[in-house]
Symmetry: C2
Subunit: 325 residues, 2 copies
């Protein structure tokens, strides 16, 4: 009679069992010319160039297993890397993923993680084309995204010029609102609050808007990882310009129901989350003023001579996330 | 009067200080069209395809800071990924590196790590083109290598056919010998023993031999990460063949002075290290018998009908490293 709880773990499967289990659940798209199972994958780069970005995600720092399930962790880890590639104006083609896994990790959690990676990739036509599995006391994810520029120039951070407008596509403040709710430990039964928490667990980057922005002639672009003010500071610095934001323009973000409901619940400032909250992976870009911006791009400010970022004339320090402070 | 030891740490520099310090020490090669500092790097892929491989290295599991300095860790982390790309017959073009660093890590160690990455890349004309820095209680390295196939078909694990020869380029057994010396804690004053330890700390993959093998028509290839027997087992399985090794052919490896000296010192079996030791990142490949193999390729066996790997007719289990066992 089995009285112990019978949970199959990563350690039960062993390294090659884990690899087989993961790769069996990863559909491979057209860009993948050689998928998992060899020393390296081979990915199409029809443009003759490849955009590449990498991130390291550490349990307890970038996610908590008691706050996010494997599926959400997979989607978030994929999303933040795919967004980096889209923010260059490139179409993501694949991820490769290094996984550090505790031996006692339930295989169910790993299956959810795999599904999260696969589903997020599928939203933009990319695939998980390869990876590496090793043992670690914490869950660690080393995620690298590749993308194809489709003949376009990469949209860097350095092309913003005075007279350009600054616009945002995607969500702002939701992840910070959800994190604040989780940190406060308040009940999140109300649908709007639950949606804020979901926004923290799983960002929703507007990948296609990145490619569209490049086609429209965006002069600078990035994805908002560390907070809009801090990240626009990078554009200001790289471009040698000043970015002036209009606080009134952020109404669609502060009035976004999950953000507004969380701010009300916690007595917090929604605009603070919108301007300084990270991890929504919205795209922020500068465009020449004459460009007609399609939805969901939304103008929030303009580029002028000078340096730094201001809101309503008030200079803003680089508030945002520093991993060592 | 400063009585505390004044060591500048990663935490003192902060995230952006660390990034600036690292990127200022990384020369960028011709393949790098856009280097560090943006959401993604842009790398030339003139072939229209890109080979990509990733590995995760965890302190305490893949390296120990009391056994290896930052420089050796950097070289080894770079080497094992560059070797994966070379094992496809591709020329490595760049690495991107995710770094998890403890806040109390001395900046000197980080500088050494950076130099190790840069120097190993330089041996094959590649560059560290981008990365990510985050805080972690352990040093964690997520390393991804890209490479260009130069118009050649990738050399996978599945093309070995009965009648082909099996050959090795590079070192075998040195890393295992060095690890055994370190584990035993014996003094390593003798030059040959010191060389074995150096071989553990810093592998020396024969990158050019990988590209050369592809040009010569290698039918299958991989880099020896987990031990020759286990890794040739992957070729046998993927190709649906048997690999028969001739123990006499390994004399150059067992008589390699550092390996032989370590075996004598510890009363160990040098052939066991040569056949089952990992982390030397030699290349092992199958070639049609008529191919004239240049140095340093050395024939160690042949491909026959069947499955698995044998040495002198004795079937060998897949001895080697499993990260979960």
């Amino acid at each position: 009679m089995c009285v112990r709880r019978c949970v199959i773990t990563v350690g039960d499967l062993g390294e090659f069992g884990v690899v087989k289990r993961i790769t069996g659940r990863l559909p491979q798209g057209d860009a993948v010319m050689l998928g998992p199972g060899d020393d390296a994958a081979v990915i199409g780069a029809p443009d003759g160039r490849v955009a590449v970005s990498t991130d390291l995600l550490i349990e307890g720092r970038h996610f908590r297993r008691d706050w996010s399930g494997g599926y959400d962790v997979g989607r978030k880890a994929a999303a933040q890397n795919l967004a980096d590639v889209a923010a260059m104006g490139a179409r993501p083609t694949c991820l490769v993923v290094g996984l550090g896994l505790p031996a006692d990790l339930p295989v169910d959690w790993l299956d959810e993680l795999t599904a999260g990676f696969a589903d997020e990739c599928a939203t933009v036509g990319a695939s998980v084309a390869g990876g590496d599995v090793t043992r670690c006391d914490l869950v660690v994810l080393g995620v690298t995204a590749l993308g194809d520029l489709g003949g376009r120039a990469p949209v860097t951070r350095s092309g913003a010029r005075p007279g350009h407008v600054v616009a945002v596509a995607g969500r702002l403040g939701r992840s910070a609102a959800g994190l604040a709710l989780l940190s406060a430990g308040v009940p999140v039964a109300a649908p709007a609050l639950a949606e804020a928490v979901a926004g923290h667990r799983r960002p929703c980057p507007p990948y296609e808007s990145g490619i569209e922005a490049a086609e429209l002639g965006a002069s600078a672009m990035l994805d908002v990882s560390d907070g809009l003010l801090q990240d626009l500071g990078h554009i200001a610095q790289a471009s040698g310009v000043h970015v002036e934001l209009d606080p009134a323009a952020f109404a669609p973000f502060t009035l976004d129901e999950p953000v507004a409901a969380a701010a009300k619940e916690l007595g917090a400032d929604a605009l603070e989350w919108v301007l300084s909250g990270g991890e929504d992976h919205a795209l922020a870009a500068a465009f020449p003023a004459e460009v007609r911006l399609p939805e969901p791009w939304h103008i929030v400010g303009r580029v002028t001579e000078g340096s730094g970022v201001s809101v309503l004339g008030r200079e803003i320090g680089q508030r945002g996330w520093d991993h060592f402070r």
